[in-house]
């Protein structure tokens, strides 16, 4: 039961570039699922919505609600596609690991891409960098710079640390939750394959934990999107 990652180290002789192939594969799987579901929903759009279109419109309204609760809609509406893609992608990514975990020849192939810190931190860093970008774009360099010295000038170091802390917490929260869920699922799976007693004893906890992981996956996707919008609002709104 020793799991290893299918690594592809130093491709083309570039020493700092390493690929975890299962991560890449799972990212692609999650993205493909998201893309297919979303485009299916967007196909044959009707004024009187049915089925998948209804679900998508609900999701859009949901994310709209998140944005509305953090900033005014005029500045917030440009972040709607970002929020939608984040929540949908992260949710699907989280669910992938709940459905099943596949290892082949001791290599772990099927899991949540979000159970890898480098991926969640990439998303978090991207979000934080985007908040800075939009902060400068919408408020101007001066206003953006002033944000670091408010409400008191001597809080500047804290403000600086906050940016990194935000990135870290945003990424690691998601990673921690999903990774912990997968560890426990993996342990339960190992228990169930260990024998008849294990299978009987592990079935119920497995079921419960999968339900809970589904819940956690949904909640984490929501929290990630919510915090993205909160950080964004912090940077783009004029008075806070």
């Amino acid at each position: 039961m020793d799991h290893k990652n299918p690594m592809w180290n130093d491709p083309f002789g570039i020493s700092w570039l390493d690929f975890n192939l299962s991560n890449i594969a799972m990212m692609l799987v999650a993205s493909t699922i998201v893309f297919i579901v979303a485009t299916l929903a967007a196909r044959n759009l009707q004024r009187k919505p049915t089925g998948l279109q209804n679900f998508m419109e609900w999701l859009i309204d949901f994310v709209k609600g998140i944005i509305d609760s953090t900033m005014d809609w005029n500045t917030g509406k440009r972040f709607l596609p970002l929020g939608l893609t984040l929540i949908f992608y992260i949710f699907v990514a989280n669910m992938l690991g709940v459905i099943t975990i596949v290892s082949f020849d001791h290599y772990l192939w099927w899991k949540s891409p979000t159970s890898d810190p480098s991926i969640t931190l990439t998303l978090a860093a991207m979000v934080v960098i985007l908040t800075h970008y939009y902060g400068i774009k919408l408020n101007g360099v001066k206003e953006y710079g002033k944000g670091f010295f408010q409400p008191m000038w001597f809080l500047f170091p804290l403000k600086l640390i906050e940016e990194f802390a935000n990135t870290l917490t945003l990424g690691l929260r998601l990673y921690g939750n999903i990774f912990a869920g997968e560890v426990l699922l993996g342990m339960l799976a190992a228990l169930m394959t260990s024998g008849a007693f294990g299978a009987i004893g592990g079935a119920l906890p497995m079921l419960a934990w999968q339900a809970f992981s589904t819940f956690v996956g949904a909640i984490q996707a929501f929290i990630f999107t919510m915090l993205t919008m909160v950080y964004m609002a912090h940077k783009v709104s004029h008075d806070h």
């Binding site: 967007a42 709607l80 190992a190």
Partner: protein
Amino acid sequence: MLDTSMMILGAGAGGFNVGDMLAQLIIFIVLLVLLKKFAWGPIMNMMKERETHIASEIETAEKNRQEAERMAKEAQEELKNTRNEAQQIIENAKQTAKEQEQAILQSARAEAERLKESALQEIQQEKENAVQALQDQVAALSVKIASKVIEKELSEQDQEKLINEYLKEVGEGQ
């Protein structure tokens, strides 16, 4: 079975793979762009279109309602006018009838008066004529009677005397 290696499941080497990070970044951005183009954009457009459609429908309904209200009011007004007019016509007719009645009565009365008058006149005329005729007849008769009486009792001399008397009288009368 539950060995410690399970605990680090998925954590792998625990390091940060630059390749994964780049891949995630690129994949996410591509996904974002694709979804924006193929999913979010069209769906949001549809939502917006529905919004405007509903707004316009509501507006139209409101307009129609106002129109209907206006028309109803107009009809009410028209009905009231018509009723008034009908009342007026009936009143007029009544008035006219009364006048006509009065006129007819008057003319009838006048006619009757006239007829009575002419009848009276005729009666008077007839009476006068009758009296005249009677007078004439009485005169003639009395002359005839007188002549008969005189014829019987008059002698020759007396007759002579009487004729003379008459002649004298006539002569004096001239």
